[in-house]
Point group: C2
Chain length 554, copies 2
């Protein structure tokens, strides 16, 4: 049985659900022992702890010049002291060029089988990945497990499935038979899906696997060799994925350099040198807008970006104001607002929000929202775990600055003690009221647990501002609360024009921050928040070129 | 019966053949009276002649500032004196913005029906389009009829079909039902294919309809309003298409400004002002590389280009050298080499070409090739009609310069009398022998009837040069002659890496210049000859954005 035959059922199912977009998950998100085994969690934690202070020696790449690594845990604020092999850019590129000519000739079926097998191997290490994610990103345990493990693997499968489908969308060979009256012209035609070349995937510090595996697997399934350039602050989680890919490649007598890890350190970043290298044809990137826009403008490259955005919440009318406030409070608290899908600007009409119980004034909503945040933060069984820790010290600076904004501070940020990690770098959300006239304040991303309550003239102004922010500055998510059908359609239409998906009237256990594989396109690609979308057809078709040859039938 | 229902069979068939890539033509390429009617040709010619010297008053656009037009017939070298309404860029954009919000809400089915109906209307005017094409581009009658009429309409249908398919690739609505253990989360989800906005299609002087209709119909089917900016030297053929689109729009109570004609004159070109306008989101372009690369670099635009390239012929070994030479001679003569797919660089090993009858020396092949060109040129029943006329005087200058290149002139260019048009601007091909060491000579497009016989060390050098030209300077077509299976695969592989389709061993009535709708992708998009391909999925998916909204099921 080939690896493709082994994994064919799940690939077939994944292609099917990519089109039906109903619920599907190939990798269970529930970390319970019943699903992953009694000792899986403890074993994963032990493996993670055992890696601390040591060389990461799992990679099958050769030619390292030295070793380095500067990861630090936001929970302990101590260095992990893991070191990784470092390579020159020339060495990475040289290895990649060599691997390219082998990998591009591997069939789409074999590629799909090998890639799926690597995900199955990584599945056995989801807990290890989870602890690695916690102690690099500051995510809480549950998010670290789900986002970096099963949800990332589902997104990777999505890319494999989408790529496999597109590679098979046109025939390999056909006889073209054109009647010319007295005779026919017959040509043998064949089409080749030609991979574009070396692919560089640039990771971010907050979602080191979830935001990188789509590009890695999207490039690999379409025949391109990949160099993974992780954020220097969050290497270990993705290093485990790369190691497992290299394992399966080697077992199948293929060059492990088909997927290399190109680690760098804060003092000597190699990202620009890699990206600008003429042999690099594909770039995937998650991170700040300035660097993303620089990458997008590089000539002769195909670039996929997820940059920053300003996510809006439009509050028009609600069924139940407390449930709405609770839902939004959770969204702001979740991983301390360090998600690209977290809400930032909440637009509330000056004369309040309609509800079955009458108008809820701006101030009343502000108080309810603040109370919900505080309630969650102060719940010792939830707060520390939902908030996690702050990945980057600069986020703390932004929080401090937010409290000095020209508006009323509704809720101040404070630190929160984590029962497991006394030294955790934490910050609860800050909430500031801003008048809609002060557009310069809220026309940019304030990354972290920062929520602005923006007082608008009315819902029409709220919609116009949300649309303007998305069109000018990008947006990845949007929430809206309305019980009015025409307002509903207006929001749906105007935000669609700004290429922003809207979550309407969320209450309970589902949040605007969440994006489900196989169903929700992540980043639409249609506004300045990024030009890529997981996983629409372009996300894979742009990684190869259809070339057709032809010859008369003998 | 709706227009969609009327045209559904052909759209369905077109989607099917886009994937099977077998022969298909919806619009017959045979201009015989049996197909198009006894009087169709004469009627079309009369309509064309009647238009000369007059205003083109068929457009339903309003707000023209003045009238203008500078078309000139390459056959008579006289001005056509047809004038068209001229509009300010602001007026075109203003009209387009207004039309956008109506057109984007028309269903994909209704758009497809309206667009197919417009093609059916244009079909009745194919002969008029043919004469308009002859007297703007210089194409011979048969090419003018086929390329501007049925072949263009087939490519337009291809764009409609590809767009319609992609618009239906994801569901409009679905219930997403996620088991959470004790309960399910249920969301109503919906996806909208949101058009990007105003589309500008910039035409060229040699193929005014064939190279423009794909962009026009590709943008329209996906909901974008279009401004067609024809080349000032070749307006009438595409004006007829636009007029028929406007007719069908108006009959269906839709704004005719959904597709506007934006004519300009050589002394006051509006292309840059249009392209740079912030409201213009999509640009389709056919023409020179310098302007194409400028367009590709415009920030915030989705740009589809067909620029220039250096097309190669690799001569390794032949079954029948005379048939090969005849086939290539026809390709060089056809429309006097003014096709983006015409061959330019013929690479021939210094020690000759293998054949069953032994080696054919470089000089022998050169003489056979020259003799085949001369034979066709001097055939009074074929020569003038195959060559047509020279569209642009600059091409004559390039021909004169080619004869001064540092190499042996194998065949000089001369004028050729056209029995129907005594004043036709004609030029037969010039053939020059160049040593492969003189790369600077042949590393650029020499547009027109110019063929270079490049003497290489061997076939490996020929392949390497053909690949290098395509990778560095672009290529749209390539021919190769080899009877050796391993050389065959090497050429197929190396040229595929340069994203260039290869026609192998063509003889008889099929030529490397020809690209068939529904089967041959035109321009692969993978080398500097252009970033677009007719009609691969990206050609339509990049014209809209998938946006998904969601809301809990009540």
């Amino acid at each position: 049985m080939t690896l493709f035959e082994k994994h064919q059922p799940v690939i077939t199912k994944a292609i099917e659900v990519l089109h039906s977009r109903i619920f599907f998950a190939a990798f269970p998100e529930n970390p319970s022992p019943a699903v992953y085994g009694e000792t899986a969690d403890a074993d994963g934690q032990a493996k993670f702890k055992n890696q601390l202070g040591k060389k990461f020696e799992e990679l099958k790449q050769s030619g390292a010049t030295t070793w380095g690594g500067q990861e630090e845990s936001p929970y302990t604020q101590e260095a992990l002291k893991i070191s990784y092999p470092l390579f020159t850019v020339d060495s990475l590129i040289g290895n990649s060029k060599k691997a390219f000519h082998q990998w591009r000739k591997v069939s789409a079926q074999d590629r799909a089988g090998i890639l799926m097998e690597s995900l199955e191997r990584t599945k056995k290490r989801f807990f290890e990945v989870a602890y690695a994610t916690m102690h690099t990103t500051g995510q809480g345990y549950m998010m670290a497990f789900q986002a970096s493990g099963p949800h990332a693997a589902d997104r990777a499968l999505e890319a494999i499935a989408a790529g496999y489908e597109e590679l098979n969308r046109f025939p390999g060979k056909v006889i073209w038979d054109k009647p010319m009256g007295k005779f026919n012209i017959q040509l043998n035609k064949e089409w080749r899906a030609v991979p574009k070349g070396i692919s560089v995937v640039i990771g971010c510090s907050t979602f080191p696997t979830w935001n990188s595996v789509t590009g890695i697997y999207g490039s690999l399934i379409t025949g391109n060799p990949v160099i993974v350039k992780p954020h220097p602050g969050a290497i270990l989680p993705i290093a485990i994925f790369v190691a497992e890919i290299q394992n399966v490649l080697t077992e199948n007598n293929l060059d492990p350099n088909t997927c290399q890890l190109g680690v760098d350190t804060f003092d000597k970043m190699i990202t620009k040198e890699l990206a600008e290298h003429p042999d690099v044809k594909l770039i995937d990137y998650t991170g700040n807008s300035a660097f993303g826009s620089y990458l997008e403008a590089l000539p002769g490259k195909t670039v996929f970006t997820e940059k920053t955005g300003v996510n809006s919440v439009i509050l028009d009318s609600v069924e139940d104001v407390d449930k709405a406030a609770a839902n939004l409070a959770f969204s702001v608290n979740l991983y301390s607002g360090q998600m690209c899908t977290a809400p930032q600007n909440l637009y509330i009409p000056a004369d309040g929000i309609n509800s079955p119980a009458g108008k809820i004034s701006f101030d009343d909503f502000a108080q309810k929202f603040a109370a919900q945040i505080t309630g969650l933060v102060d719940n010792p069984k939830a707060g520390p775990f939902v908030l996690g820790a702050i990945q980057n010290k600069k986020t703390n600076e932004r929080i401090a600055e937010a409290e000095k904004l020209p508006g009323k501070v509704i809720l101040k940020s404070r630190t929160l003690e984590n029962p497991q990690f006394k030294n955790a770098r934490t910050a609860t959300p800050v909430v500031v009221e801003i008048d809609s006239s002060k557009k310069e304040i809220y026309s940019k991303e304030l990354f972290g647990p920062i929520a602005l309550l923006i007082k608008t003239k009315n819902t029409n102004e709220s919609i116009a501002l949300a649309q303007e922010m998305a069109m000018k500055h990008g947006a990845i998510s949007c929430a809206a609360y309305t019980t009015d059908a025409s307002v509903h359609e207006k929001i749906a239409d105007e935000m669609a024009l700004a290429a922003t998906p809207v979550s309407f009237n969320l209450t309970g256990g589902i949040y605007m921050n969440q994006n489900a594989a196989f169903s929700d396109f992540h980043v639409t690609g249609g506004n300045p928040a990024g030009n890529a979308s997981f996983t629409n057809p372009e996300y894979v078709t742009k990684r190869f070129t259809w070339v057709g040859h032809r010859e008369p039938v003998k």
